[in-house]
């Protein structure tokens, strides 16, 4: 699990948790504006949101968001965002998903080949499923990611072969 904080501003705000009643929607907007908008691609956002979830408790944690709102509201906002982005990705066509995978792989600091190899071997995207998601939908998501990875890897090999031939 990743403990998210947004630097000293987040730490300072932690001391002044607002009294007023805040809604999950407000926290969600804040999350979308401050964190999610800085991440390129829905797949990367999905992985990020899934990483804020504790493996043992299933609760989402984000220190910066909890400081501005409350831990419970932050948890609900993260869960909402996770579910929404998951549905968005699950609704993508295979072609769109391939573009998402390309974007994710290109934006990562690790080498493309390494990411593709690890993702195909360990299937870490399975952890990105929200809790209690429809079983057939979960299978469709996993299946489409598997296909998208195979397609991206195929293109990668073609590029490598083209480069070595020239």
């Amino acid at each position: 699990m990743v403990n998210n904080s947004e630097g000293s501003a987040g730490q300072a705000a932690y001391m002044n948790v607002p009294d007023r009643t805040v809604t999950v929607e407000e926290a969600y907007d804040d999350l979308a504006r401050r964190s999610l908008s800085r991440i390129s691609g829905d797949l990367a956002r999905l992985i990020y949101l899934a990483s804020t979830r504790d493996y043992n408790t299933g609760q989402y944690r984000h220190d910066g968001l909890a400081a501005r709102f409350r831990a419970e509201i932050a948890c609900n906002a993260l869960e909402l965002a996770h579910r929404q982005i998951f549905y968005r990705i699950a609704a993508c066509s295979l072609e769109e998903l391939v573009r998402e995978v390309e974007l994710y792989v290109s934006a990562s600091q690790q080498g493309r080949e390494e990411i593709l190899r690890v993702w195909q071997k360990l299937e870490p995207y399975r952890v990105a499923l929200p809790v209690n998601v429809n079983v057939a939908l979960a299978q469709l998501f996993v299946s489409n990611i598997k296909l998208a990875l195979a397609i991206v890897q195929g293109r990668q090999k073609q590029r490598a072969m083209g480069a070595s031939a020239s």
């Binding site: 998601v133 299978q139 299946s143 598997k146």
Partner: protein
């Protein structure tokens, strides 16, 4: 001539019962998904997602890539997803019918025609699930969009029928209690 027609009718009935049995058996083998509980497992899949499994849009894209390995992987994966959907639909219907049986036991004025209608729809749906299950394994899901849509519609209709029945049961028992 009459005997021949009876034999044909008997054979068709037997086939439908076999398909229904296959659907019922398929519903008992839900996928290895730890994320969902039993109740959530039997929530219907949103229509916009299940139609994607049975339509050709993604297949056209994959075919355009001209990569045999990916094509074979696509066929394998789509079969898996389609079978998961069929199993889930059958499981949902089994759940609906067992809820109905529970509610019917509490009801004081069952209507024979409604019960026959519900049971007939249940049998038909199980038969369709059985046929879908076999057909997906043989031919893949891309040709079966119409049948899958029919199963989805029938499943929604049966669920609504049961919901309206169940909504009537407490009222009936309440009336009986206050009388």
């Amino acid at each position: 001539m009459m005997e021949f027609a009876s034999v044909i009718a008997g054979a068709v009935l037997l086939l439908l019962l076999t398909a229904a049995l296959k659907g019922w058996l398929a519903s008992r083998q839900l996928g290895p998904w730890p994320a969902a509980s039993e109740e959530d497992t039997t929530e219907p899949c949103p229509e916009e997602f299940f139609t994607r499994v049975f339509t050709r849009a993604d297949w056209e894209f994959v075919r355009g890539l001209k990569a045999g390995g990916v094509e074979r992987l696509f066929e394998r994966e789509r079969k898996k997803v389609a079978l998961a959907w069929v199993r889930q639909t059958a499981a949902l219907i089994r759940k609906v019918i067992s809820e109905h049986a529970r509610a019917a036991r509490q009801s004081e004025n069952l209507e024979f025609s409604t019960e026959i209608n519900i049971f007939a729809q249940f049998l038909m749906l199980m038969a369709v699930c059985g046929i879908l299950s076999v057909a997906v394994q043989i031919a893949g899901p891309l040709w079966l969009g119409g049948l899958a849509h029919f199963a989805q519609t029938l499943s929604q209709r049966l669920t609504k029928l049961q919901e309206s029945f169940q909504a009537g049961v407490p009222a009936q028992t309440g009336e009986a209690g206050s009388a």
